[in-house]
């Protein structure tokens, strides 16, 4: 799994982009998007997901069930 951004909720403030330890977040045509290939849910970096912690709108950065759960070393 990885985190994803609910576009309709996103204010485009870019706070998550700077905090992501994996550089997994980018602005694409005005929308912020998390690359699931790069997202580690901050495992190994921080105790909590940085995008979730810094986002000004609740429930905007959420776990996306579609990709497989990230496993360190996998």
């Amino acid at each position: 799994m990885a985190y994803k951004i609910i576009a309709a909720q996103c204010t485009g403030c870019s706070a998550c982009e700077a905090e992501c330890p994996n550089k997994a977040i980018a602005e694409i045509e005005g929308m912020f998007v998390i690359n699931p290939e790069k997202c580690t849910e901050c495992v190994g970096h921080y105790d909590v997901a940085q995008c979730v912690s810094v986002c000004p709108v609740d429930d905007t950065c959420v776990i996306d069930g579609a990709p497989l759960r990230y496993r360190p070393g996998a």
Partner: protein, 515 residues
Amino acid sequence: MVEMITPISSPDPAQAMQRIAEHKGCGTTGGDGKASCGSAAGQGDLPAEIWEKVKNHPCYSEEAHHHFARMHVAVAPACNIQCNYCNRKYDCANESRPGVVSEKLTPEQAAKKVIAVASVIPQMTVLGIAGPGDPLANPAKTFKTFELVAETAPDIKLCLSTNGLALPDYVDRISKYNIDHVTITINMVDPEIGAKIYPWIFWNHKRYTGIEAARILSEHQLRGLEMLTARGILCKINSVMIPGVNDKHLVEVNRAVKARGAFLHNIMPLISAPEHGTVFGLAGQRGPSAQELKALQDECQGEMNMMRHCRQCRADAVGLIGEDRSAEFTTDKIMDMEVNYDLTARRAYQAAVELEREAKLTAHEEELSALAGEESDLTMLVAVATKGSGLINEHFGHAKEFQIYEISVRGAKFVGHRRVDMYCQGGYGEEDTLETVIRAINDCHAVFVAKIGGCPKADLAAAGIEPVEEFAYEFIEKSAISWFRAYLAKIASGEIAHRPRGDAEIRQGGLIIAA
């Protein structure tokens, strides 16, 4: 298509002034010149070196704010704290309040915009970065913008406005970039009160909540303030007055920031219209009335300089305070502009302003000398319709705001402003305009205008507010004192009896941008 911008190319100050006179803006002149409100009239109690730094800064000097314009560039969208009076999701183009912008800029776009605006508006002397998030939560973009602007326009003063959380980490960089003004928003020095204002902060890769969050924030704010003032950087403190939450506590905040070297305190009313969707707005938290705000400002005034001309503008506002020309300078437009940055013409304008300021002060002093020997404890408020240059030069019906002056035998002192514009959202649109104006200036005994129609004249008089047209196009303070002298004479002769006025309303919502 290339849009041609005509720069102010004539070095002739009179001509430059003419150009400016055609340009609508807000305006006011200062108070009595010697009261403790140093930001108001002139130097006041401020030390000479501070006055020299702030006298042309519209956000710091009330006297400067109708001559000099500022602009904010929205290069800093990210924020590191959440405030209960802020909702980042709401952005209406007709909305003018902090935390709101219509478009974000890159540092390169921002720098081009600053130079373009400064070429068209010679009174643009200050560039501020105030968000819409926190400048220091976006350090790379913020400092890059300052660097680019300093290269092309070295005469523009740089300033920034922060919540203070990241401030201690950036004090040295602020100092290095020659940023000589910093505003810190401090709403509390007691974490228990802070917990009611800030639901969380993001610091050191972690979200903190409650009292712990407020404690960390407060420590950083006060430490940052101390570090800045130790380096000779001027600090203004903004505080949002939230009745029942921090209103009484702000006196303590005032003492704390004064002790740490802040030179100016700006207490602003809470904006909490429910349609903005803020936590306070949705919870029905009210803002202060005009009388409550003034009473708190007056209480703190004995402690330090108070600022009363803040219009709580947008983070991308352009122009004189009280107006917003940002719609003329959208990214699309500025990218097409041919820009000619004329430093000589800008200096000529600034020299012309100096002369005008002196004329105004002299007029006020002359009028005051006529009051010498009068003894009266009477203090009253009057409203003024003005579009700038310290003159009574606006038609009653065209005024989007009224400037409020307190008059007494000590002189006329600017004490605030009341917005009376209509609002874009929230169901205020059907309101009767005149009723709105009367509610906004209900604590005033008179309203000074350049002109007024027969109907509103009668309605104002019926509401107990005297419409005064006889000082059209004259200096505000001089006229107010002259009227006050006549008022005292009428009381003395028994022609009228003085009656105190009631409270007035502070309007919520945003200034509509002039079409």
